[in-house]
Amino acid sequence: MMQPEQAVLAGVEETGISPAPESSPGKSGAPAVILQGLHKSFGNQIVLDGIDLTVKSGETLAMLGRSGTGKSVLLKLIIGLQQPDSGSICINEQEIVGLPIDAMNQLRKKMGFLFQHAALYDSLTVEQNIAFPLKRHTKMTENEQTTRVKELLAGVGMEAELKKMPSDLSGGMQKRVGLARALALEPGILLLDEPTAGLDPITSGEIDELILKLQEEHDMASIVVTHDLHSAKTIADRLALLHEGRVVIEGTFSELENSTDQFVSEFLKRDS
């Protein structure tokens, strides 16, 4: 899965242009997620009202927005947990709206998803939680699985908690286990719902580093929902601000900072 030569080539994007032109299609710079005209309502509450976004391989998009604007809903649409009312979602150049469940499940193996509340399987230990996708989708032996689980847990600083049950972990620890689980299959697309919420500044920093490192190593396309502007600034190539069902502004951090739009500057003002 992991190609070492890619790790060097897919370094930090400086230009926004594909840094690894000779790599296989679908990698480096190819659009991994394309959203077009997404609409989603619950009853007569309109949550998403025409979302257009593109995320390329090797790129991280930070999704900002006030609480309740539909950021989590947007991530769930992308992984097919909910269906949009209208619009199109392309994952690796495949339309997923209306895709049969088997084909969707094939795509999902290449996607990692961190839920806002971690959603760990509470009848399984931390180790079994992370081994779940490995057991289901790889032919790894028990030993290889254990090694991989330990490696993943070490990545999020949780290697000591292998045998604990999720209910015995703090919220931030559950979040980190959830992140390790999302990374288990080395996904090409990573969808993270507030990975650093509820974490102290030091751990948040470590998680940010981890995301940056993985992005460089695996050329992942990531969409990270976050309220943490500092973290967004660190990890994201681009930011998108969601408001009243639409992307109000999309650009780099400095582009957002220089925006004259009142809502945008109000949103960024608090922290800076």
Partner: protein, 283 residues
């Protein structure tokens, strides 16, 4: 720095949605609502069954999870079922004796006990006890998995929850109920004999011979395998109620309760229908 276009979208003000419900007498409306939600429930159930059946014919077959469920739903129900079987054996022995003595048909006692247990009491009591234990268990487990997004997490990791969670549990219920019924029958007959022999000594062999006199194997087979249908009902209702849970902890409680209530009711209903059918096919 990455050069990207900054896009600014201005948002228009949306007109408020106007609710237009024609005025109806409130009693009529509540009956209408009830009917509506029943039809909705039924439709959803149909859709759920369809999803499970579609998932069932695809690989992988989830053998390991099925085994786990057989243990969870089957082996762990055994003590309760044995106890319930024993209780009906004792009650039948005591109750039937006094009636039969009154009609001077005391020699019919073993036959009355064995026939009643194998034919009706054993299967139905097993069905109801399992409805309580397993129905509530499945409803609450899947319900809390639903409200904590664990079912979504299973789906997000590319595993079909209708197969991994629902299909395995339903199949486990179908397989386990006939076995549990046999266990209940066995305990019932044993305790029936013990209770009888305590009042008036009779050897076990004689008791069994008298009890089974005039019955054929199909007398045992049809009622026992009828409980596979109970298993289908209990598993399906439990999984369905669990997986459609909404509204937090309270919703989990509602799902557990409603799976017990609905599966018990449907087990009784199915029993009536199946008894009639069995009488038609095995007169």
């Amino acid at each position: 720095m990455v050069t990207h276009n900054i896009r600014i979208h201005r948002h228009s003000i949306r007109p408020a949605v106007v609710q237009t419900t024609p005025p109806l007498p409130s009693a009529l409306r509540s009956v209408g609502n009830l009917l509506n939600s029943f039809l909705e429930w039924f439709g959803e159930l149909g859709l759920f069954v369809w999803q499970v059946m579609r998932a069932a014919v695809r690989r992988p077959f989830e053998g390991r999870e099925l085994l786990r469920q057989l243990d969870e739903l089957g082996s762990k129900s055994m003590p309760l079922i044995a106890l319930a079987g024993a209780a009906i054996g004792a009650v039948l022995a005591l109750e039937t004796r006094s009636s039969l003595v009154r009609f001077g048909a005391k020699s019919m006692l073993p036959a009355a006990i064995v026939f009643s247990i194998i034919h009706e009491t054993g299967p139905v009591v097993t069905g109801l006890v399992v409805s309580g234990r397993v129905g509530a268990g499945i409803g609450a487990e899947l319900g809390s998995m639903k409200v904590t997004e664990q079912i979504d997490a299973i789906e997000a990791s590319g595993v079909n929850p209708y197969k991994f969670l629902a299909f395995t549990r339903i199949v486990a219920c179908i397989l386990v109920l006939p076995l549990l019924t046999v266990a209940a029958d066995f305990c019932g007959v044993m305790v029936g004999w013990i209770s009888s022999t305590l009042v008036e000594p009779i050897s076990f062999l004689k008791f069994i011979n008298q009890g089974l006199a005039g019955t054929s194997f199909s007398d045992f087979l049809a009622p026992t395998f009828r409980t596979a249908v109970f298993g289908l009902i209990i598993g399906t209702i439990g999984c369905f109620q669990g997986m459609r849970t909404q509204g937090g902890t309270e919703g989990v409680g509602r799902s557990a309760t409603s799976s017990v209530v609905l599966s018990s009711l449907l087990v009784i209903l199915a029993d009536v229908i199946l008894v009639k059918l069995i009488l038609v096919f095995f007169p």
